[in-house]
Symmetry: C2
Subunit: 491 residues, 2 copies
C-alpha cells in the first residue's frame, strides 16, 4: 500500500522532528508514539473484553483484565511482550504490525521495541500509583486507625506463618538448604496491595470493616515484606544480618507513614486554600497530583514503594473538603491508566513454567503445590487472629491477604541475581505468585456474600455518577455531593 | 542521608524487579519511574504557576504554560532538558537531584535520562492527541462544514501568501539561493492547530464562526503543509518534484478525512450500542480511546499527523448521544496530560538563538525580523479573503492562524538534515516559530473583545461541571445534560 519511496520520506520526516523527537540516536520518535498507541489499543481491548466477560460470570473485572493481559502477552498471542521476559522485537506482534503498516525499518525495530516497552511499563507504574491514590482517597484514616491493632496483628501473622511454615517445609520435606529455603519462605510474605484493593473496591467492600483491616494489613505487610527482604538479602549475600539497615528501614517506614499523617493534618487547609485560589483548568487535579507524586517519590527514595506514598497522599486528601470533587475527577484518569497496570502484569506472566512436559517444571510443580498450600493457609489463619470483632468475616480477611503479586517476584528476582535458587524452586515461586494472584479475585467474590453489590447496576451507578452532571452543573458546593451515600461504596 | 550500603541494596532491588522492570540492560526501571514522577512534578508546577499568572494578567493560560516550560527547560533552569536539544544527563537538574536523593549511579545516569526523556516526550504526544480529541468533541461537524469553503480559502491563502512572499523576499532582499529560500518559505506555511485551538477554547471562542473557520482552516492548512513538505523535500533532494508522492498525499489525506466522516455516521450507532452494553468501569472512556487511538494511528501511518486522526475521532463521537458524558470525562484526563505537551514545547525551546552576542544570530536576527513580518502579515490577510460573512471578525481569523509551532520546525529539521540551510537562516526560522507561537495567544486575546468569556468564572463553571454530580447521580440519560447551554462555550 505504501511505496518504498514514501516510506523513506516518512522516515525522513520522522528522523528530523526536532520538537517532538525523543531520543534521536536510539529510537525513531513518531514510530515510538505509533507503537505506544497500538499497545494502548491492545491493552484497552484486553482489559475491556476480559473485564466485561469476568463481570458477566459474576467475577471481579480485574481478574478478567489480568487474564486478558495473559492472552495478549508473552504466554499466548505475543501482541504485548517485554524485554525482561526474554522477548525481543521479532517476537512482538505490535512491532511486526508496525513493520508492515508504518514502514518500520528492521534495523530500528529493536530500539522502537525497547522504547515502547519502557513507556508502557512506566504508564503501568503510573497506573498503579493512581490506583493506590484513588484507594487512599476512598479510605478513611480514622476508620483505618480504628482497626489499626487488628490490621497490625493480621499483617504480622500473615508474614510470620507463611515464612516459618514455608521455610521449614522446604527444608524438611524437600531437603532444600537453609538460605534458599529462607528466600522462598520470604517470597511467601507480602500481600499485593494493588490486586487486593482493586478487588475490594470492585466488590464495594473497601470501606467495610473487613476491607479496612485487609487494606491496613496489606500496607503494613508490604512494609514488613520490605524489611524481611532487607534481612534475607543481607543474609544471603554476607551470611549475616545487617542490623543497621533493618533499623533504618523500620524507622524510615514508620517515620514516613506517621509523618505523612501528622503533616497531612497541617497540609489539609493549605491544600484547600491553594486550590480555591486557582482559576484555570486542572485547578484541583494538578495540585493533587503534585502532592501525590512528591509523596510517591519520597516513599521510593526512602526505599519504601512509590505506591505507599501515593496511598498516603490519598489518605491525607480524603480528609479535605475537596475529596468528593477529587474522587469524581480521578475516576476517568484511573479508568484510563489503571488497566495498563493489570494488563501489563498479565502480559508479563509467562505460563510456560506450568508446562509439565519440561522436567524442571515437574519437580517445580510439586514444590509449587506445597508453596501454594502454605501461601493460602498461611494467610487464611490471619483472619482468626482478629480479636474483639465477633461479627467479622474472618474467612474474607484471610482470603483478602492471599494475592502475592509483584512483591513475591521481587524476592525471586533478587534470589536469581545472586544465584541461590535452583531452577525448580524458581519455577515454584513463579507458580505460587501466579496462582495466588489469579485465585484471590474469584475467592474474594465468593467469601463476600450479597452479590448485588457487584452487580452491573452498582457499576453503572458509579459511572453515571462520574459523568451525569446536568443538574449540579452550577453547584460549586462540594459538600452537596455528600448527598450520594453510595458513591464511596459503589466505587 | 542514605548510606552507600542501602544504596547498593536499593539498586539490587531495582535491578532485579522482574515484573515491573522495563529495559533491564539499559535503564534502571524504578529510577526511571522516579525520574518521570519528578519530571511530572516540575511540569505541573510550571504549568500551574505559568497558567495562573497568565490568567491574572488577562492572557490565555496556555501562554503561561509555554513560558513556564521555557523557564524550567533548556533556556533557563535546566530542570527538564531533552537529548535532542543537545543536552545530556549532566545538564539535567532532575538527574542531578536523583543522584543526590535516590542514589542514582553516575554510570546509569545517561540511560535513565534517555528513558525519562523518551517517556515524557511520549506523554506530551499523548497530551496533544487527547487535546485534539477533546477539541474534536467540542466542535460540530455541521458547523465546520458550514464554513468549509471559507476555511478552505483561508487555508489556501494562508499557505500561498507567506510561502510566495517569504521565498521571494529571501531571494531578492537577502540573496538566498532558490532551494533554501523555498524551504524557508515553506516553513512559513502551516498553522499549529494545538496552540490555536487551545487558545480559542480558553477564550470560549471555539464554537464562534471565527473559531470554526480558524479550526477548519488550521486542519486543512496542516494537510497542505504536509503536501508542501513533500514537494519541497523531493525538490531539495532530487531537484525535481515527485508528482506521484504529491498525488498520493492529496488522495490519502482527503480520503482519510472524508472517509472518517462518512464511516463516522455508520459507526456512531455501533459505538453507542457497544457502550450501552458495557457494565464495568471505563465503559465510555475506554471504547472512545480505542477509537481515537486507532484513528490517530491510521492518520500517522498514511503520513498525516496522529493529532488529525484524534481530531477526526472527536468529531465523529461529537455526533453521538454520549458526547456530553464523554466531554465531562475527558476534562480531567486532558487536565492531566495536555500541560505536559505545552510545558515540553516550552522546555525544548532554546532561546539562545535570540542572543545577539553570537555573530550568526545577528545576521539571523535581521532575517528573522523579515520572516516574522511575513509570517504575521501573510496570515493576517487571510481574514480578508473570507467572503459572504459581513459580520465576521476578519482580524481575529488572521491572528488565529499565526502560530506556527512544531510544523515549522519539521521543515527546519528536514532542511538541516540535508544541509541546505545556512546557520543564520536556521536561527531565523527558529526565531520565527518561537515568536509566532508566543505572540499568538496574547494577540488572539486582544482581537477577541468581551473579556468576560475568559474570566475565572467560566473556568470554574467548567470544572464544577465536571465534578458536581450529586443531583444527577442516577440519571443515565445523557440527553438531560443538554440542559447546560454553557458547557460547550465555557470549555
Amino acid at each position: 500500500m505504501i511505496s518504498t519511496e514514501s516510506m523513506q520520506f516518512l522516515s525522513a520526516i520522522n528522523s528530523s522532528l526536532p520538537l517532538l523527537a525523543t531520543t534521536g540516536e536510539t529510537a525513531d520518535s513518531s514510530l515510538v508514539v505509533a507503537a505506544v498507541l497500538l499497545s494502548l489499543v491492545v491493552v484497552y481491548f484486553a482489559s475491556k473484553l476480559g473485564g466485561e466477560l469476568s463481570n458477566r460470570f459474576g467475577l471481579p473485572p480485574v481478574l478478567g483484565e489480568l487474564v486478558g493481559g495473559v492472552v495478549v502477552g508473552i504466554s499466548v498471542l505475543h501482541f504485548l511482550v517485554f524485554p525482561e521476559t526474554g522477548a525481543d522485537s521479532s517476537s512482538s506482534l505490535i512491532i511486526s504490525f508496525l513493520k508492515t503498516t508504518a514502514g518500520l525499518n528492521p534495523d530500528a525495530a529493536e530500539s522502537v521495541f525497547v522504547a515502547q516497552s519502557e513507556v508502557i511499563s512506566v504508564l503501568a507504574e503510573l497506573g498503579v500509583i493512581i490506583l493506590l491514590f484513588e484507594i487512599g482517597l476512598e479510605s478513611n484514616l480514622k476508620d483505618l486507625m480504628a482497626v489499626g491493632i487488628q490490621a497490625t496483628i493480621v499483617a504480622i501473622v500473615g508474614v510470620a506463618v507463611p515464612f516459618a511454615a514455608g521455610t521449614a517445609g522446604l527444608m524438611i520435606l524437600f531437603g532444600i538448604p537453609a538460605v534458599p529455603a529462607i528466600f522462598a519462605g520470604a517470597a511467601l510474605t507480602a500481600t499485593s496491595i494493588g490486586i487486593t484493593s482493586k478487588v475490594l473496591s470492585e466488590l464495594g467492600r473497601l470501606n467495610s470493616k473487613e476491607g479496612q483491616i485487609i487494606l491496613g494489613a496489606a500496607v503494613i505487610d508490604d512494609v514488613l515484606g520490605i524489611i524481611v527482604l532487607a534481612v534475607v538479602a543481607s543474609l544471603a549475600k554476607d551470611g549475616a544480618v545487617d542490623v543497621g539497615k533493618v533499623v533504618y528501614l523500620i524507622i524510615s517506614a514508620s517515620g514516613f507513614l506517621l509523618g505523612a499523617i501528622a503533616l497531612g493534618n497541617l497540609f489539609n487547609k493549605t491544600f484547600v486554600a491553594i486550590v480555591d485560589k486557582l482559576k484555570t483548568r486542572g485547578e484541583l487535579v494538578i495540585p493533587a497530583f503534585i502532592f501525590a507524586f512528591v509523596m510517591a517519590y519520597i516513599a521510593a527514595v526512602i526505599q519504601l514503594e512509590a505506591i505507599l506514598g501515593a496511598f498516603a497522599a490519598g489518605l491525607v486528601l480524603e480528609e479535605t473538603d475537596k475529596r468528593k470533587e477529587l474522587q469524581k475527577q480521578i475516576v476517568p484518569i484511573a479508568d484510563m491508566l489503571v488497566p495498563i497496570f493489570f494488563v501489563t502484569v498479565g502480559a508479563k506472566t509467562d505460563l510456560s513454567v506450568l508446562n509439565p512436559a519440561v522436567p524442571t517444571n515437574r519437580e517445580g510443580l510439586v514444590m509449587a503445590c506445597f508453596l501454594i498450600l502454605i501461601a493460602i493457609l498461611g494467610k487464611l489463619v490471619t483472619g482468626f487472629s482478629v480479636f474483639g470483632q465477633p461479627q467479622i468475616n474472618r474467612l474474607a480477611i484471610g482470603v483478602g491477604m492471599i494475592p502475592r503479586g509483584e512483591v513475591g517476584l521481587v524476592f525471586l528476582g533478587i534470589g536469581s541475581s545472586i544465584n541461590i535458587l535452583s531452577k525448580p524452586l524458581e519455577a515454584a515461586i513463579i507458580m505460587m505468585v501466579i496462582i495466588t494472584t489469579f485465585l484471590a479475585p474469584p475467592l474474594l467474590r465468593f467469601v463476600f456474600p450479597e452479590p448485588t453489590l457487584v452487580s452491573p447496576e452498582s457499576n453503572e451507578l458509579l459511572l453515571d455518577g462520574s459523568s451525569g452532571t446536568s443538574l449540579a452543573i452550577n453547584s460549586s458546593n462540594s459538600e452537596s455531593l455528600e448527598a450520594n451515600p453510595n458513591s464511596q461504596e459503589a466505587n
